[in-house]
């Protein structure tokens, strides 16, 4: 398992974004920690895969649509706070596109939102056969605690 105190900085280490002291500390840790080395290699591989995947093209009407929004009369009125005329509008549209791209990049790097918290207690009854199967299989292994494994799997009174 990846060490929690280093997990968050693995990506930054890979991208060369850590300061010198942090980078040296991470390098020293990686020489001793196989789990973090495996995680770093997986991150690097993921990056390679993503770089090898062509970026999906923007929809053809995306940019003109955005431009239309920022050059609309209402937008022109708002933009007058920051500058004058068409050049400013185009620059603003470009800024919007850059911000949109940056947001997408951040979302991609962060991954999808967390699926939700871990729920305490037993899963739904439909999962019980699999819990039992797992427990019985694990109970047959060397040094396993058969009694407790079987007890957990049949804790609901052994419905069929």
């Amino acid at each position: 398992m990846v060490c929690p105190e280093f997990a968050e900085r693995l990506s930054a280490y890979l991208d060369g974004e850590l300061g010198e002291d942090e980078r040296e500390g991470m390098a020293a840790h990686l020489t001793a920690c196989a789990a973090c080395r495996v995680a770093l290699a997986a991150l690097a591989r993921l990056g390679d895969l993503l770089r090898a995947t062509p970026a999906p093209p923007l929809g053809e009407d995306l940019a003109p649509g955005l431009l239309a929004q920022v050059t609309a009369p209402e937008a022109r009125l708002r933009l007058r706070w920051f500058g004058h005329g068409r050049r400013t509008a185009v620059a603003a549209a470009g800024l919007v596109l850059v911000l949109a791209g940056a947001s997408a990049l951040l979302l991609w790097r962060a991954g999808p939102p967390e699926p939700g918290p871990v729920m305490a207690g037993r899963p739904p009854a439909a999962a019980e056969p699999y819990l039992r199967e797992h427990a019985v299989y694990a109970a047959g292994q060397p040094l396993a605690d058969r009694s407790s494994l079987l007890l957990t799997s049949f804790g609901r009174g052994a419905e069929r």
Binding site: E114, A120, F154
Partner: protein, 345 residues
């Protein structure tokens, strides 16, 4: 040099290489691999593993599950007639009284307190069990340190204590008290990935010179039994095929390897059980065709009751259930590495 002599030399080289590999493996199993390793601890543990089949006994056992700040206790009668007949009959608390697990020559049957057969498992691969066990022991040696932890008394008998400590931080581990005379494990404590005591089983009384009666291992007739979960016997296995292509995880926690996969049926619905191990702990991934009972939500996780963590999801027309005593983040990483489940983080 003629072809026959060439082949003979090649065969000898292969045998020598295999012998060296076996010697290295045996050395790894029994020898020390680092500072602080105690060969005596490994010797104790391997004797305990062997004793499981060698020693006949009759005893009473208390089992505790610790979760949510509470302890659930049960008592059972345990009979073992060496080498391969084992019966565990739960006698307390009342909801479990009458639950029976009996194994005989690899055939395992489980009867619920009502006397109904809820599981019947035929031998999957006769003879291959020993190969798998040897592999597990090697993994155990690689992934864990064995430490002697003094002596104590269990069920009135002197016992030596040994702990299996994971080399990778954050994995569950185990502490065992081994009877000094027979090497049978008298007390078995399981600690979860956070180091918290999760389970404890210990003999409160034990007799190593039991006189078994024929009725000791009798099972009630289970008329009209529908065992629910069955495993195809050797003759039936070839006729069975999975109705779907299995999907495999691309990521496993450090130290874990694929152990085996086998088919099963639950009330006629075929499923695949993939088992992974680090030598001590088991991780299971179940795949079945999505049915009405498949998880409707994209993902759900449950923890508690001594069974570790359960993660369920549906993808690509299949229902998945992942079970293991690992942190939630690790299970999510495993699940997210299964094709079609890349959204799981």
């Amino acid at each position: 040099m003629n072809a026959a002599r060439c082949r003979a030399r090649q065969g000898r080289r292969v045998r020598i290489a295999a012998g060296i590999a076996a010697a290295l493996a045996w050395t790894l199993l029994l020898g020390g691999t680092g500072a602080g390793e105690a060969p005596a601890a490994w010797d104790l543990l391997f004797r305990a593993i062997a004793a499981d089949r060698k020693v006949s006994y009759r005893g009473t056992q208390e089992t505790e599950l610790f979760a949510g700040g509470e302890a659930r206790r049960s008592q059972s009668l345990v009979l073992h007639r060496a080498p391969d007949v084992l019966r565990i009959e739960y006698v307390a608390p009342p909801p479990l009284a009458g639950l029976v697990v009996q194994e005989e020559s690899g055939l395992q049957r489980i009867l619920n307190p009502a006397g109904e057969l809820v599981r019947a498992a035929h031998p999957w691969r006769p003879g291959q069990g020993e190969g798998l066990q040897a592999r597990r022991l090697l993994l155990l040696r690689v992934n864990y340190r064995a430490e002697l932890q003094g002596r104590g008394t269990v069920a009135g008998r002197p016992a030596a204590a040994a702990a299996l400590v994971p080399r990778a931080a954050g994995n569950p581990w185990r502490k065992l008290w081994v009877d000094e005379a027979t090497a049978l494990i008298l007390q078995n404590e399981g600690y979860d990935a956070t180091g918290r005591l999760a389970t404890r089983s210990r003999f409160t009384a034990i007799d190593f010179a039991p006189r078994f009666r024929p009725t000791d291992f009798a099972l009630p007739a289970a008329a009209g039994a529908d065992p629910g979960m069955v495993h195809p016997g050797p003759g039936e296995r070839e006729a069975q095929r999975l109705p779907f292509d299995p999907l495999l995880p691309g990521y496993l926690p450090p130290g874990y390897v694929f152990e085996e996969g086998h088919l099963m049926e639950h009330h006629g619905v075929p499923a695949l059980h993939l088992a992974f191990t680090d030598g001590l702990n088991t991780l299971s991934l179940f795949e079945a065709g999505a049915t009405a009972s498949a998880p409707a939500e994209a993902l759900s996780m449950h923890q508690g009751d001594g069974f570790g963590m359960v993660l369920r999801w549906a993808a690509r027309g299949l229902a998945f259930t992942l079970v293991g005593d690992l942190p939630a983040g690790e299970l999510r990483k495993i699940a997210g590495s299964v094709p079609g489940a890349e959204g799981i983080r």
